[in-house]
């Protein structure tokens, strides 16, 4: 799911980068254990809706950061079942001029 979310988020208006949500060493360890290479972090049981999804994005300064963040969250929410109580966190980590 994470890798498809990466593509989804990167294709949204105003989003120019997607960043890791964790330090490099933690990410490397996770990749070794799970083989997971996605940047959008999805946590929770594999057989149910995720508990938490975190995306750290870079936004084009020509877009409005709050609007872009809301758009990212809405796009992620739209991929979930309507009754999912998944927490979505969108963090703008960089504004690119």
């Amino acid at each position: 799911m994470s890798e498809s979310l990466d593509s989804l988020v990167l294709g949204l208006p105003g989003v120019v980068n997607l960043f890791s949500t964790e330090p490099a060493i933690a990410r490397s360890a996770r990749e070794l254990v799970s083989g997971e290479r996605a940047l959008v972090e999805v946590t929770g049981p594999a057989d149910a809706a995720p508990e938490r999804i975190v995306a750290s994005v870079g936004v084009d300064a020509n877009a409005q950061a709050p609007v872009t963040a809301a758009g990212v969250a809405a796009a992620i929410r739209a991929t979930l079942p309507p009754d999912a109580s998944t927490e979505i966190v969108v963090r703008i980590s960089r504004l690119t001029v």
Partner: protein
């Protein structure tokens, strides 16, 4: 999750230092290093190294008092400031209508925005910037001004650019934007810079 580490030299938990990022830039970013390319703080530092690296090559190294170059100490201090400023720091909340959604912008992203806004003013090079306060914030920016540029006009243009950028990208209440001119510089090609 923030990416602060206990090692001050480590940029954004990437495992790479400022010097190593500079080497990476010099190598044309090849071979690609995922830990750098996927790290927001490393990308902010690389962008600054590119911008100020090209600028520093344009600076005239003259010591005549009537044609001062940008002080070398000021420039090295600039890179130290950038390294500090790109740290993610606090997550500043943005409004969300969905109670299950949390939207934030990092303090590091805001500092980078302030720096870019200031640097966008002709004849200005931002030295340091800081944000203090929680709900009502005060922004402090120090700048170097190109010799011959009217100082008060440059400072006012920086203040306006920073205020406009913060209004567009954050929901902060900005009490004041304080601009201090602490240096002047000259550029080899007569003023334009990329």
């Amino acid at each position: 999750m923030t990416t602060d580490t206990t090692n001050d030299d480590d940029i954004g938990g990437s495992g790479y230092t400022l010097e190593q990022l500079s080497d990476y830039l010099d190598s044309g970013r090849t071979p690609a290093i995922e830990a750098i390319d996927d790290n927001a703080e490393c990308q902010a530092v690389l962008a600054s190294l590119e911008r100020y690296g090209s600028l520093s090559r344009e600076l005239v190294s003259r010591d005549a008092t009537d044609n001062p170059a940008l002080d070398e100490g000021w420039l090295s201090g600039l890179f130290a400031s950038i390294t500090r400023e790109v740290k993610a720091g606090r997550d500043i909340p943005l409004t969300s209508s969905d109670p299950l959604t949390r939207l934030t912008i990092t303090e590091g992203a805001i500092r980078g925005l302030i720096r870019s806004a200031g640097d966008s003013v002709n004849g200005v090079l931002v030295g340091r910037c800081s944000i203090t306060g929680d709900d009502d914030v005060t922004v402090a920016v120090s700048i170097s001004v190109l010799l011959g540029t009217p100082v008060h006009l440059a400072a006012e243009a920086v203040r306006q650019a920073v205020y406009t950028a913060l209004l567009k990208h954050t929901e902060l209440t900005v009490s004041s934007v304080d601009v201090t001119v602490d240096d002047v510089h000259v550029i080899a090609n007569g003023g334009d810079r990329s």
